[in-house]
Amino acid sequence: MTRLATRTDLNQLADSLRQAPAAGAAKPQIFVGMSTCGLASGAGKVYDAIAAALQEKGLADHVQLIKAGCVGLCFAEPTVELQLPNQPIVTLGDVTAERGRQLVDELAANGSFSNPLSVDNAIFKKQVRIALRNCGRIDPEQISDYLRNGGYQMLAKAVFDWQPQDVIDTIKASGLRGRGGGGFPTGVKWQAAQGAAGEIKYIVCNADEGDPGAFMDRSVLEGDPHCVLEAMAVAGRAIGARRGFVYCRAEYPLAVKRLGIAIEQARAMGLLGEKILGSDFAFDIEIKYGAGAFVCGEETSLIHSIEGKRGEPTVKPPFPAERGLWDASTTVNNVETFANIVPILEKGAAWFRSIGTEKSPGTKVFSLAGDIKNVGLAEIPMGMTIQELLYDIGGGSSDGKPIKAVQTGGPSGGCIPSIKFDTPMEYETLTALGSIMGSGGMIVMSEGTSMVKIAHFYLQFTCDESCGKCTPCRIGCKRLHEILDRILKGEGKPEDLTKLEELGNVIKDTALCGLGQTAPNPVLSTLRWFRGEYEECLKRGNRPPTYRIDPVKCVGCHACFKVCPANCIEGKVKQPHTIRQQDCVHCGACFKTCKFDAIARE
């Protein structure tokens, strides 16, 4: 790898990469998704099998085999994508080593792939890929792949063609808002940092991704680490910073590894470090590791953690842009926010604004998990309805039954009931529903899920993760948890529900940091939309309901008999039926089916 001493060197290298025979346009390409999920599902074996078969058939030089990141189809891992020259790309799911060898055989025999069992294209149709543009399409461990696709050109422009203010103006005009949860306008943040006092400034990329169920940042780092590095360097140029840090959680070893490789390669090529592309601009990036504390995703805590201290938050203001790391101005942005920067600079603010909505331009990556068929990542224009995301892209619930609710925003968010699935997703609309956009994690819940238990689960999480610095969060959340505990045990009192609401609102208003201020959301939102479940719990705790048939009302229509999955309903047609309680699975199917109101639920 030779150092690029000038901008001309960069352009020449990019041109030669595009023209080189390896560039692929004329060759069939096989992409194997090798991210954490893929590898855990056996992508390594698939890759090896395909590589060996290509060797065997003498095709190694004629077909390009790429170790790519993931395209976001977690439900179908390991995935392989096939690109024949001038043909649409085909995505294959659940590929085995055997199937991999077959693919090569077909290619050797016919020059094409016969009847490939591809993943339904509908999953991709409604997506617009900006942050994930390169994920699954390039080898994240090869900087040449990134350079071939126009990588580091925006850094070159920021260094040589544009004034720092031009960059900030474009980002401001694009209306890009922080994807880490808060939705704060990125351009405004950069402007504040640029105007802040002090010689030394820092750029921090927040890759803590603590929200359980969210994994888009991991995918970006594993699939396209250079796009984050380039954006951080551009931010450094615009703001006047010379050092950057990526704060990555230690639970993501592969992301850390690939990020490390990317930084090494960029340094070796003179795209990071001193005298970038021969200019007087210097910028370097270091990785910092999280150590398993959710609160460290909060920016002030994160800063203390980088400083080697306990990751406790401090009151804002001063905002990090004014006083952050080692008291210097620090710009903290999320991984996905950074992943949007280069495309905005490439295509312009107007292009970005043409996607999404007026208040929330652009796209958002959502991770779909839980009771959903197509578990994985989807990048969609803001303003798409929840319904479209869950059913058109997500494929509906795993068992085909209606979805009951979806939880967004993790422990800081809330549960949105199915009656609100027609809501277009934007920062403001989700907040109005008592939830938040958060990092884009979506946990889908089917009919059987108890909302009280879910609220209890999240509060357990916040109690564990509360740093203990402020009283409302440390003690308030504990009390909320205790009340829920007692409700679930069937020892709740009627006034408990108002107590939950009162206490929840006090915590929201008085906690020190975002963790405490949002911790009551899971309780408050479930209370708002699923109050009936709480009321039932007050009566009988977490015990499943008992169903009884009233022999007077029952006309013996036999409908319940037919729907009972446990075959525990007895009775002849036109005679009152009974339920064999010891075999009942408490599913409620009979209750829903009965047209004569003859089944009581206790």
């Binding site: 954490t36 999920c37 590898l39 855990a40 599902s41 977690c74 439900f75 891992e77 991704e209 603590g210 929200d211 359980p212 169920g213 969210a214 994994f215 991991r218 230690a250 639970e251 993501y252 070893p253 910092k288 590791y289 150590a291 398993g292 504390a293 959710f294 953690s305 980088i306 400083e307 080697g308 201290k309 306990r310 990751g311 406790e312 991770s367 998990a369 839980g370 009771d371 578990v375 994985g376 939880q407 993790g410 994690g441 946990i443 819940m445 899920t449 879910i454 689960f457 999240y458 999480f461 993760e465 740093c467």
Partner: protein, 169 residues
């Protein structure tokens, strides 16, 4: 040799010294230093924390404060095989708890007692490993296992026991 034995005696601080030097004895690198030490010794014994404080010239309270704040640090010896069960939301709704119960039962562990007396296994929970597509997820040392059932998890443990203690099995 058990991890507890490794730490005895001052000569055993050699590795710690090397780690401290590697990080330039820089107090702002306290977290990576503790991470490296834990990797070396598998846990952070009290005397090691005191040693680190002296070496970095910071109060012991600062080192203890950091070591007890972050979930990754453990002040008690850990097993050779650390089994981390994900209890993040995605895994939780896919029934992670029965797996935890099965593992604890097989190994005689509880929520308080996380490590087996022979220091072979530690069972802990984490919140999300970012592999939610494979929920429920269990990670044994660095190996990720997806769509785990209680039976599958216990089988993985049996496999390790058979490998580690051929005689006993």
């Amino acid at each position: 040799m058990s991890a507890a034995a490794t730490i005895k005696g001052s000569r055993q601080f050699d590795a710690a010294c090397a780690i401290l030097d590697r990080f330039g004895r820089n107090p702002t690198r306290l977290i990576p230093i503790l991470q490296a030490l834990q990797e070396e010794y598998r846990y952070l014994p009290g005397e090691l924390l005191a040693y680190v404080a002296t070496a970095l010239g910071v109060p012991p309270a600062r080192v203890y404060g950091v070591a007890t704040f972050y979930a990754h640090f453990t002040l008690a010896p850990r097993g050779k095989y650390v089994i981390r069960l994900c209890d993040g939301t995605a895994c939780h709704v896919k029934n992670s708890i029965p797996i935890l119960e099965a593992l604890r039962q097989r190994l005689g562990l509880t929520a308080e007692r996380k490590t087996t007396p022979d220091l072979l296994f530690t069972v802990e929970t984490v919140s999300c490993l970012g592999a939610c597509g494979l929920a429920p997820v269990v990670v044994i040392n660095d190996q990720v296992h997806g769509q785990v059932t209680p039976e599958h998890a216990v089988a993985l443990v049996e496999e390790i026991i058979a490998r580690e203690k051929p005689a006993a099995a």
